[in-house]
Amino acid sequence: MNILVCISKAPDTTSKIAFTNNSTQFDENGVQYIVNPYDEWYALVRALELKESIGGNVTIITVGTTTDESIIRKALAIGADEAVRIDADPKDAYFVAMQISSYAKAKGFDIVLTGKETINYNGSQVGGMIAEAMDLPFVSLATKLDVNGTKLTLEREIVGGVQVVEVQTPAVISCAKGMAEQRIPNMRGIMAARTKPLTVIPAEAVADLSSYVSYSIPNAKSSVKMIDPSNMDELVELLHNEAKVI
């Protein structure tokens, strides 16, 4: 089973979110990047588990610049066999998806995995776009993935519940919580990661479909109104008459 796992960087979850350049750019000052948790915890770890049980190869791919090689090494340390970096600033989801699909088409992977979304842009876009560009089926928000020959059995989130579905390979899957458990890289993995192959390939030209022109930070709440814990009728009254939410 040949599996491609798409990896994105994301600011560490405790990062202070600020913008520079007249609020047009994310302020990277002091920001630590991590592997986007959905990509790392679920997509990558499930790919490794599948490889361990049925054999195969796990390639990770990211669209990014040389500064992103630390997240690539982290993913290799967790256990991916090889890595590909498409050398470009990941401008938007469409750009990223076009680069990855063009690479993946030429290589013939059985499964392409993504995280369900990144924790910075929360768009849930890349997986579906890759699937369309490759004309493959797409199962999104999968919480379970099992392989039986060329048949994939998945559980996915649906509105108000879950669903068990089957699809044939090749397919694109976006991975959500439940699919696997986070793995912490060990020393051997970290050492091995240094010598695993990392291929850098140039990006293709892709027209911009959309862009972020500016950002803003929502106003903080004004001060909190404290309610006497023995007087819950007052809270209900305030929620009804003042906040008007019940």
Partner: protein
């Protein structure tokens, strides 16, 4: 022309009414494309929210986003749509990206408002810690609207319903089983949410949370550690790595208010925090705070809500 995709397999959801209302607010005619088994009478009601006509393909079950993308793209062509709108729910998340590639149209994912005067559209980014303004460069655009961002508005009367078929191709996804817990309110769409964290000490103590939710007509949610240790199902986990929600009311019980938790809930209109620790960070993000033991406060709150509800009838 605006085209709105809605899923109507389980009737007309609030998210569906929101997207049609949004389409109407953009101006011009609004066509709705849908699949599934809702009756013509039901679908005609979408006219009240601004639809000019509804096109339905009853042969498509809606389980394969590839099929839906083909269907929506074909109808978008037929009606010469320049904007296609989805709800940013599981359908929007699966189909809108495909359609973006198929139609070569810029996707605004997770819109929270109608376009600004300069044409940019506000979206939630950094898990709700900031908003971004997105500009679409292509001729056509696709917008997926975050649930609960605008209220459905009735402005018109019932519209015509047309049937279509043969546009979607075959499904590549074979559904073996669907599991939906009875009677629960889907979290992303819920207007009222009662949520609890590690402060509740154990899964056996969720009875009072469920009772409060039932009394209010609210959905239930939880913090990440609670889902991780299996006290509550994963789909209830809200926050930066769980579901992001923006209900009208979010009641947080025994949750400390870690930055990753706040990220998923700080779009809520009103936040109530119940915590024994008056220094809990959550109070800084709250509108109403109660410093107290959940095991005493929540049963009292349940009674107060019931008293209030009794006066409402």
């Amino acid at each position: 022309m605006v085209l709105v995709y809605i899923n109507s397999t389980t009737g007309l959801s609030k998210a569906a009414l929101e997207t049609v209302t949004y389409g109407k607010k953009l101006g011009g005619d609004v066509t709705v494309i849908t699949n599934g088994s809702a009756s013509n009478e039901q679908l005609a009601q979408l006219g009240e929210y601004g639809a000019t006509k509804v096109v339905v393909d009853r042969s498509v079950d809606g389980e394969d986003p590839q099929q839906l993308a083909r269907l929506v793209a074909a109808v978008a062509d037929q009606v010469a749509a320049s904007t296609v709108i989805f709800s940013h729910d599981i359908y929007g998340k699966a189909v809108a990206p495909r359609l973006s590639v198929r139609m070569n149209a810029g996707l605004v994912a997770g819109a929270i408002a109608i376009p600004e005067a300069d044409g940019t559209i506000k979206v939630n980014v950094f898990s709700g810690k900031a908003v971004g303004y997105v500009k679409v460069a292509s001729e056509k655009r696709i917008i997926s609207l975050l649930p609960n961002s605008i209220q459905p508005e009735k402005t018109g009367s019932a519209c015509s319903v047309e049937e279509t078929s043969g546009l979607a191709g075959t499904s590549a996804i074979n559904v073996l089983e669907t599991k939906k817990p009875e009677g629960s309110i889907p979290l992303p769409e819920a207007e009222l949410v009662v949520s609890a964290g590690r402060g509740l000490k154990g899964p056996e103590n969720w009875g009072m949370i469920e009772e409060l939710a039932t009394a209010l007509g609210a959905a239930t949610a939880c913090s990440r550690p609670v889902a991780d240790i299996g006290w509550r199902p994963h789909h209830e986990h809200v926050g930066q790595t769980g579901v992001a929600i923006r209900p009208n009311l979010y009641i947080a019980v025994g949750i400390s208010g870690a930055i990753q938790h706040l990220a998923g809930v700080n779009g809520s209109k009103v936040i109530v925090v119940v915590n024994t620790d008056k220094e809990a960070p959550f109070f800084k993000a709250a509108d109403y705070g109660v410093v107290g033991d959940a095991f005493e406060v929540i049963p009292r709150l349940v009674e107060a809500v019931k008293r209030f509800k009794a006066t409402q009838h």
